[in-house]
Each structure stands twice: as structure tokens, then as C-alpha cells.
């Protein structure tokens, strides 16, 4: 086993920080010029921003849980778990050498939330930011705030939904963003992200382009007006279920209309350099070898879109490390993968064996398998590294404080693929609405290093409460969010969060 596999990311230096910014930093020569974003300079008051960030397969509980002597306000993210020799998976958030600063004081780590829906295993992906199950009709929190609550109306993109590896629509396990129960598609090709998101910046950077943009807007607006009238006419003939389809279509037209309007808006941001084209961007079809580079590019462009105020709401769907996706990372292939399967779903994830509590009268405690914690931790450490990269970008643009980044996951225990004690990490304060620098352990009777504390005294703390709290931080006077199996679980904010 290599040092990295035991202690990924421990020995980062200033040089490695620059490498972490890497080629994409060079490709974004104006990034540092965004330290005070255009909109904040113009308005004086920072608008709130929300990003959801997802990666699959839970966390290695012994490498994530708050340590025995830690408290809510005093906790360590740099510990090395003694039995596995592996570092805390949250270490990237307290790694100034790699990311320019420690984000520990900007975080709220939450341990102990549960999914209270029918979505199990990877179907739980649907619940992470919706609080709803497989037949849910509601929106994910960023879509709700941006579109239903109207907080995204002032930017060209109400939301920006990016991802890596899969752009499948319609199924629970491949999507975290939903608008009124329907999946919102992800852009997974950096070139498409670039062309879609930064077109208005390209247009407004010189007078000739601006004139062309104005003409383009006039043409586009006439089409949008025609299509809106067309939809409204058809709508009169439809039953409610069919009207919902056209409601989605109308919402999409509003987005196009806003993007047309943005063509004429001057911004103090310049477009990044065009990203390289990749021969494959799809998982299970050879795209994995590009995922490291794609992930970095997508994160950087997402951050820059926020900094340029092209959007204030977004989501990022991150692929796992299956099928050679370690290519280009520092993670050694041979030590991370099982010799006969490069798919970590069946090896690393399902092979995870945390320690167990005893169940009275049924079975004794089980010490678990430390090597499985370490392997599982490599995946999560990598994902939190990418989240730290996003935070570093937002911080460099001066918008981390006004933002809230919510990092979620589809399960708690990947060995069982269950959704109890699902990890969340919040970063930024949504403009001072969240008291950060804390680690909330919501189930104090569930000791560190234990699996899910289920059993006779199991308490469900639904993730719906977190989503209610987030909505309230963004000024929404609601006390319920999502559609859990028991409607009572949808109600109430998360105690002690704000």
C-alpha cells in the first residue's frame, strides 16, 4: 500500500496547491480578477447563492465522525484513524497548503441526518436535496429557491446544473436536481458548459459582438413570444397532468428569454478560455479517463458563473472513481482497485465494513474491517478535495461568505447501501445566515466509529429539516419541505443549525 492510499493528501505543499489549481487555473487568466465579484461591487449587498454538490457511496464512518473528545465548536479534521491508518476524509477542508486557506471555520459538518423516504440505495440520490422519494412531485432545494421562489430571476440562468459522467434523465439514481418532480438535465461536457454559460460574456466584450447580440436577441425574443402564445393556446385543451408538461416547457422558455436578454448586458467579467474537447465524457463508455480533468473544469466554470453573476443557484453531480476514473489523479490505480474489478461499486462501496454496535440478544459488536474504511475513504477524500477546490474558487472571487455550498451524499453506509446517518457538509454562510466553524453530531448516543446506531432506540432526523432550514436562510417563510413517507417528517427546521 502506498503512502497516498493510507494518507491521501497529507503532504501537500504550496507547489501542490498551484498544481491543484493546475492547468485550468492557467486556462482562466481572469479568475483572480474576480476577487470582488461584479455584482457585489455594483450593488453593495451580496446576493445569496446556493450550490448543491453531490458524490455517491456514503462515507467511511470511522474517518468522518466527530472524535470522542471533540465538541461542536472544537474539532479536528486532520486526525489519522489508528486502526486503518487512514486520514479523516474531511481533511481537504483543513489543508491550507493545498488550497491556500483552511475552510474549517467556514463549515458546518452534520452527522446524523436520515432519509425518510422510500428511496433506498442509489435511489436515495433523489432524496438528497429534495427530501422526496421515488414518486415525489417536488423540487430540489436549489430549483425551488431559484424558480419557484423566484430568487433566480435576476440572472441569465436561474440555475446551472452541471455534472460529470452521466447525463441520463428520468431516473432517480443519476439525478440530484428536480423541478416539480421531474429531473433537470445536467451538462456534462465542459465545451457545452462553456458555450452555454459564457456566450453572453463573449458577446458583450466588444461593440461589434454586442450589435450582433442585440440583433440576435430581437430575433430570439420574437420566437419566444410566438412559442409562449402557442403553448398557452394548447394549454386550454389539456387536463392538469398534461398542463404540467407545458408548465415545464414555459419555464424553459423563460430561461431562454433571460439568456437572450443577457446578451446585451455588459459584465465586468471575461469569459474563460475555451476548454479542451474530450473524445468521451460518458461513464461506462470510456469517459472515465477524462473525469479528473472534466471535474476540475466543471467546478471552475461553475464557480466563475457564480462570480460573474450569471447564476446564483446551481448543482454539481460528481462521478465516483469507478472504471479507471483515477486517471490523472494522484491515486494509484493498483492499490485502489480490486484486481478483477475496476468498478468500485461492488468492491470498495459494497465491501465497506464499519464497526457495529451490538444488538441486544441478537449479535455482539463487530469491529469491522479497517482496510475497507481506508479504501472507501480514498473515494470520499477525493470528493471532498474537489469540494475544497470549489470553495477555494468561490473564496478567491470573494463570494464564499455570501454563498452556501451543501455537499450531500446518497447513503450513509455503502456496505449496506442504506440511507441512515447520511453525511452533509455545509460551507459558506449564505450571507451571514449560518454560524459556521461547527461540527454537529446529531445523535450523541451514537459513538464515533459506529455504523448507523439503528435498533430499538433509533431516532430518525429527516434531511427534510435541513432543507427547511436552508429555505429559511434564503428568506422563505416555510416550515415544511419535501415528501417523506411520513408527512410529519417534512416539517420543522433543523434544531441548532442556524
Amino acid at each position: 500500500m502506498t503512502d497516498y492510499a493510507r494518507r491521501p493528501g497529507v503532504q501537500r505543499t504550496r507547489r501542490s496547491f498551484l498544481r491543484a489549481l493546475g492547468a485550468s487555473a492557467l486556462a482562466f487568466p481572469f479568475f483572480r480578477s474576480l476577487e470582488i465579484s461584479a455584482v457585489e461591487a455594483a450593488e453593495g449587498v451580496a446576493p445569496q447563492r446556493l450550490l448543491t454538490f453531490y458524490f455517491p457511496h456514503g462515507v467511511s464512518s470511522p474517518l468522518f465522525k466527530r472524535q470522542v473528545n471533540d465538541t461542536e465548536d472544537s474539532f479536528d479534521l486532520t486526525f489519522v484513524e489508528p486502526r486503518s491508518g487512514a486520514p479523516c476524509v474531511l481533511r481537504p477542508f483543513d489543508d491550507a497548503a493545498s488550497y491556500g486557506m483552511s475552510f474549517k471555520s467556514k463549515l458546518v459538518v452534520i452527522d446524523g441526518l436520515d432519509f425518510a423516504t422510500d428511496a433506498v440505495g442509489h435511489d436515495g440520490t433523489r432524496t438528497v436535496f429534495t427530501g422526496s422519494g421515488t414518486t415525489g412531485t417536488g423540487s430540489s432545494i436549489e430549483q425551488y429557491l431559484a424558480i419557484e421562489a423566484g430568487l433566480g430571476k435576476d440572472t441569465p440562468f436561474s440555475t446551472l446544473v452541471l455534472g460529470v459522467g452521466t447525463n441520463k434523465t428520468g431516473d432517480h439514481l443519476d439525478n440530484i436536481s428536480y423541478y416539480k418532480g421531474v429531473t433537470v438535465s445536467k451538462i456534462i461536457d465542459p465545451t457545452e458548459t462553456f458555450n452555454t454559460v459564457f456566450a453572453s460574456l463573449l458577446a458583450s466584450s466588444d461593440p461589434a459582438a454586442l450589435a450582433a447580440a442585440q440583433a440576435r436577441r430581437a430575433r430570439g425574443q420574437s420566437v419566444v413570444d410566438f412559442l409562449r402564445a402557442d403553448i398557452n393556446h394548447l394549454n386550454t385543451r389539456l387536463a392538469p397532468r398534461e398542463k404540467a408538461k407545458l408548465d415545464q416547457h414555459l419555464t424553459s422558455l423563460v430561461e431562454i428569454e433571460k439568456q437572450l436578454a443577457a446578451l446585451e448586458t455588459q459584465r465586468n467579467c471575461q469569459a474563460p478560455a475555451a476548454p479542451p474537447k474530450f473524445d468521451s465524457v460518458l461513464s461506462l463508455a470510456g469517459g472515465e479517463v477524462n473525469f479528473e480533468a472534466i471535474t476540475n473544469l466543471q467546478i471552475d466554470m461553475l464557480a466563475q458563473a457564480l462570480a460573474c453573476d450569471l447564476t446564483r443557484f446551481g448543482s454539481f453531480w460528481m462521478a465516483d472513481l469507478s472504471r479507471g476514473a483515477v486517471t490523472g489523479t494522484d491515486i494509484p490505480y493498483d492499490t485502489f482497485y480490486s484486481p478483477d474489478s475496476p468498478d468500485i461499486h461492488l468492491t470498495v462501496a459494497h465491501g465497506y465494513r464499519p464497526p457495529y454496535d451490538s444488538i441486544d440478544g441478537i449479535a455482539p459488536a463487530d469491529p469491522g474491517v479497517p482496510v475497507s474504511w481506508q479504501l472507501s475513504g480514498v473515494q470520499q477524500h477525493y470528493a471532498y478535495e474537489k469540494a475544497a477546490r470549489l470553495l477555494s474558487r468561490l473564496s478567491a472571487s470573494g463570494i464564499l461568505e455570501s454563498s452556501l455550498v451543501v455537499i450531500g451524499n446518497d447513503m450513509g453506509d455503502s456496505g449496506l447501501h442504506t440511507s441512515d446517518n447520511v453525511p452533509y457538509v455545509l460551507a459558506g454562510s449564505a450571507g451571514g445566515k449560518l454560524r459556521t466553524g461547527r461540527y454537529l453530531s446529531l445523535k450523541p448516543n451514537c459513538p464515533p466509529g459506529r455504523r448507523d446506531c439503528e435498533g430499538t432506540n433509533k431516532v430518525i432526523i429527516p434531511n427534510n429539516q435541513l432543507l427547511v432550514s436552508i429555505a429559511q436562510m434564503f428568506g422563505q417563510a416555510i416550515d415544511s419541505f419535501g415528501e417523506p413517507t411520513d408527512p410529519a417528517h417534512a416539517k420543522g427546521a433543523l434544531a441548532g443549525l442556524v
Binding site: S185, K186, S222, V223, A229, D230, L234, A285, D340
Partner: protein
């Protein structure tokens, strides 16, 4: 017993006590109730003629609009504009009909923001290409370049784009809101371009309408003639109605629909559509994207399996006018001499051509390379994937979800001294037994087939690792061959091909594809139709489609 097994068994007991999931031998049936003929109430007087006894208001689909699939979008712009571009293939993927078959025809499709942008960009590209390359030859008045000529163009173009006659002010709306301002602002050609862009993003173009004439929401409606033509074109050919169908004025008549259906079934487009339907049913439509170990399988070419699947469907459904029995149990395939080598079969007399499989244990589409390679890992066969997929798609049996049961799932460790089957036989104990006795009893029958579908006597060519594909089928008791011993997947496929259970499951899947939806009432009604045909030995795939097209299910919509 390990701690994990105890916990898992506890969960299993709770689950099984409360519901359906596991028994020692059976999983959950997927919406495969035993209602059968006569189980659907409220029969209406048939207006559609032959074979309509099954049609009931309860089974009717509600009035709806259905967004075109990406493939249908491409076919539509190609038919309308004469382009060869296939921009829809790069749109966000279609949301498949979830769980009950992975069909792209799905009534739940919508136009969400990313797709709307892609549609906008595609419309711009297509309109530009058309005006540059085709406008001059299609529009005699083009030199006039005035408002009258623009009107003339859209008088001809818009009904084709909307696939129906124009209503009310539709033409004037497009002209006044889009074309005329552009004519003033940008000139003639840009105005034509913009009008085309708008038409390509309109609801009439993007959605197939199944609303009928009646504007009220009550009662049973019959689709309009244009809607029936549209439905027939998209169902049989994956494309809008061709000129002959679009001209037909009597499509409320079952005989007229049958006549057009049979005519369309003779076209190349119908073959492509049939490939799509069968491959999506079996779950092999993405075999071309599968990857295999480059060290173990140097020359793996999944496109060859895709081509084989298409050719096999052509041979069964069109050349031989075959039925489910043939799809499931055929002792032949179509391919190259290289494929015959892979299968250990005699060479085809022409290359590529018909390959006789009667001397080798390989029967039907579930034993061809596409299914076997899709349901395998990079290097090894996957008895679980093969077994589970066969159960859901060939027998409409849901094998259960281990996550729902909170079971540990552990890939058996690599062990070069064991066969795949021996490694997976760990399932035969503890909490896994309940469901895997069924899954594995099916999956192990495929053991002789490698991860790329080649037949192997021994695992990895090691004589000390002889492969055993014989099992005793652990299936729900209402499956007639439950408990029967089979030597391999060839015997299994033959049994299923001759069974009502397999034929009914296929009919259900056909109902889902044709209706772009799922629901027990409609599927039961379809099964009733199937039974009538099956009893008379006329249930070929083509005849099933024709029967559906003739039926009230196809042309009537219920009030829901």
C-alpha cells in the same frame, strides 16, 4: 453465523412478513396480475371493428400530448427538411419508461431548460442549412423575396411541420409575430429562417397530439384523422406519416389503419423501429458502448453485436414473420464468419449471412452476444445481471432489491482456482438465498458464455475449471417449468419461448412500447387481444402490432 447475516436476516423476515418480496423460491411479479380476459370492466360498444372486444374505457389512455423522442425528432426534421443531420442524437438522453422496460417512447417526456436550449440551437442550424441549400428549389417565388412569397412558403411548410391542417390563426400568428418583423428587420432569407426556427420549436412539431377533436375533457374521444396518421407513422416507422398516410382520410376505420400499417411494415424505416423496440425490450440497445478488458479480449467489437441484433430482428420479424417463440427460441442468427467462429457454429453460406445454431447450445435473442456482453463485467460473466435481466424482461418477474432489504452485497473475491459459478454460489446461503436462489438458477444457465458471448467449455480455458451451467429453475409456482432441471440457457430459452408466461410478458412489453406508458388495465386489454391471436396461432410480432393499430386502444382516449 456472522453478525451481518443475522442483521440482514432480521430485515428480511420483517420485509417478507409484511409484503411480497421474498420466499424461498419466488420474487415479486411485475404488474403481471392474473386478471386476464374479462377482468376489465366497463366495456364500450366497439366502433373499431375486428378484435375490439377487449377495448374498454378503463384501459384507454387519457388524452395527452407526447413529446417526440430524440430519434423521432431527427426523423421528423429529416422528413420535413430533407436534411441528413441527426442533431437529436446529441440532445440530453430521452427519459426512458422507468423500470417497466427501457423504452424511449415515454409519455412523461418534457422540454426542460437544457433541452429547450438544445432545441433552439438545433432549429437554428437546421433552418440555416435549409435556406442555404433547399429554399431556392422549393420556393418558385424566392426571387420576389417579399411578404407574399413568405406567406406562400409557410402556407406550404407549416402544415407539414405541424403534421396536420392549420387551425384558426396559426399561419397569421407565425407571420405576424415572427416572419413579418424579421422581414422588415433582417430581410427575406433571415425571415424564412426564423419562421422555420419557430416552427421547429412549436408544440405542434415537438409533441405528438392525442387529444381528439372534442375540446371537452369528458367522455371517450376518438383521435382526429391527422392524429391517427401521426400515431401510426411514429409507432410503425419511428417517423411522421409519409405522404400516402398523411393523405388518408379514413383512418378511423380499422381496415384503413390495417392497410397502412401493413404497407408501412414493408419499409426500411419499420425495420429500424423494430430494432429499437426489440433491443430496448431486451435491454441491449446500448451494447455498442460496452467496454471489455483490452488484455483479455483484444478484438472486442460491440458494434458487431449491435449489427447482429438488428439482422436477427430483420430475419425473425420480417423475413420469417416470426413471433415471440422465434425471438426467444430461434436456432439461428445472422452474422459474419467471424461471429460463427465466436459461437462455435458452422460458417454461414454467405458472409455475412444466416448462421445455423442448431448444433450449438444457443437459442434466441437472450443467448446472442449483445445480451451476454451487456450483462457481464469487463472480464467476467455476471450471472446476477444475466439472471435478473432475464427474469424482468423475459418473464416479467421482479427479483427484488437487496438495498430495500438492507442486505450486504459483496462481490465474491477473485479466485483463479474457482469458476464464476463457484464464486457466486456463496449466495446459496444466508439472507441472500431467498432471492438469489431464483436469480442464480436462471443466471447460472448462461455460464458457458464469456463476458463477450463466446462459448467456453472451461473457465479461462483451464481444464481444471469445467463450467457447469445446469440448474434447477427456482421460479414462482405459477411458472409451469418451475422446479424443472435445465442443462443451460439454451434449454431455458426454449422453455420460455413455448410458455404462456413468456409470451404474455412479451405482449406486456409490446403494450408498453406501443402506448409509451404502462398500466395494468391497458396491458390486460392488450393481453386479451394477444390471447385471441395466440389461440389462433396468429400472434406474430407484426400481427400483434396490426391488431393494436386496429383496436380502440389505439384510436380512443378515455377521460381521466
Amino acid at each position: 453465523m456472522s453478525r451481518f447475516n443475522l442483521r440482514a436476516q432480521l430485515a428480511l423476515l420483517l420485509t417478507c412478513a409484511g409484503a411480497t418480496s421474498c420466499s424461498s423460491s419466488a420474487g415479486t411479479r411485475v404488474v403481471e396480475s392474473t386478471g386476464g380476459a374479462g377482468s376489465v370492466a366497463n366495456s364500450t360498444a366497439g366502433t373499431a371493428g375486428a378484435g375490439s372486444a377487449s377495448n374498454t374505457t378503463a384501459a384507454l389512455i387519457a388524452p395527452r400530448i407526447r413529446r417526440l423522442t430524440n430519434a423521432e425528432y431527427d426523423a421528423s426534421v429529416q422528413a420535413l427538411l430533407g436534411t441528413t443531420l441527426a442533431l437529436g442524437a446529441r440532445f440530453v438522453p430521452d427519459a426512458r419508461l422507468y423500470k417497466y422496460g427501457k423504452f424511449d417512447r415515454n409519455e412523461a417526456q418534457i422540454v426542460e431548460p437544457l433541452l429547450a436550449r438544445q432545441l433552439q440551437q438545433a432549429a437554428e442550424t437546421l433552418a440555416t442549412e435549409y435556406v442555404e441549400k433547399k429554399l431556392d428549389q422549393d420556393l418558385p417565388c424566392v426571387m420576389a423575396a417579399d411578404a407574399a412569397c413568405a406567406r406562400q412558403f409557410f402556407e406550404g411548410f407549416l402544415p407539414k411541420a405541424y403534421r396536420r391542417a392549420l387551425g384558426g390563426s396559426e399561419l397569421d400568428d407565425l407571420l405576424s409575430m415572427v416572419v413579418t418583423p424579421a422581414l422588415t428587420r433582417d430581410g427575406f432569407r433571415p425571415a424564412i429562417e426564423l419562421g422555420i426556427e419557430a416552427a421547429l420549436q412549436s408544440t405542434a412539431f415537438l409533441y405528438h397530439s392525442e387529444l381528439g377533436d372534442d375540446a371537452s375533457l369528458a367522455g371517450v374521444k376518438t383521435l382526429t384523422n391527422a392524429e391517427i396518421a401521426d400515431a401510426l407513422g411514429f409507432l410503425i416507422t419511428g417517423s411522421p406519416a409519409d405522404a400516402e398516410l398523411a393523405r388518408a382520410a379514413d383512418l378511423t376505420s380499422p381496415d384503413a389503419r390495417e392497410q397502412h400499417a401493413r404497407r408501412l411494415l414493408e419499409t426500411p424505416l419499420a425495420r429500424s423501429q423494430m430494432h429499437r423496440m426489440v433491443k430496448q425490450w431486451v435491454g441491449i440497445d446500448q451494447v455498442s458502448d460496452t467496454l471489455k478488458s483490452k488484455t483479455k479480449f483484444l478484438n472486442y467489437q460491440p458494434q458487431a453485436f449491435d449489427q447482429e441484433s438488428n439482422d436477427f430482428v430483420d430475419e425473425v420479424v420480417f423475413a420469417r414473420k416470426g413471433d415471440f417463440r422465434m425471438l426467444m427460441g430461434a436456432a439461428f442468427t445472422v452474422g459474419t464468419s467471424s461471429l460463427a467462429d465466436t459461437y462455435g457454429a458452422p460458417q454461414p453460406s454467405v458472409d455475412p449471412g444466416l448462421i445455423d445454431l442448431s448444433s450449438v447450445p444457443r437459442r434466441g435473442i437472450f443467448n446472442l452476444g449483445a445480451f451476454l456482453a451487456t450483462n457481464a463485467t469487463l472480464e467476467l460473466p455476471s450471472p446476477v445481471k444475466r439472471g435478473a435481466r432475464f427474469l424482468t424482461q423475459a418473464l416479467c418477474i421482479d427479483p427484488g432489491d437487496p438495498n430495500a432489504l438492507k442486505l450486504n452485497i459483496t462481490l465474491p473475491p477473485s479466485n483463479s482456482s474457482q469458476t464464476t459459478r463457484q464464486r457466486f454460489e456463496a449466495h446459496a446461503q444466508g439472507a441472500c438465498l431467498g432471492c438469489h436462489s431464483m436469480i442464480d438458477s436462471v443466471g447460472f444457465t448462461f455460464e458457458h458464455f464469456s463476458a463477450v458471448g463466446a462459448w467456453e467449455a472451461n473457465e479461462d480455458d483451464k481444464p481444471e475449471l469445467p463450467i457447469d451451467s445446469s440448474t434447477t429453475l427456482s421460479l414462482p409456482s405459477d411458472i409451469p417449468f418451475a422446479g424443472q432441471a435445465v442443462a443451460d440457457s439454451s434449454e431455458l430459452a426454449t422453455l420460455v419461448s413455448q410458455s404462456d408466461a413468456g409470451r404474455r410478458c412479451f405482449a406486456r412489453n409490446l403494450a408498453r412500447f406501443t402506448s409509451a406508458s404502462y398500466g395494468d388495465a391497458l396491458e390486460q386489454a392488450f393481453l386479451e387481444e394477444w390471447k385471441r391471436l395466440a389461440d389462433s396461432g396468429e400472434d406474430s410480432v407484426q400481427e400483434l402490432l396490426v391488431a393494436y393499430v386496429r383496436s380502440n386502444l389505439f384510436v380512443q382516449r378515455g377521460a381521466k
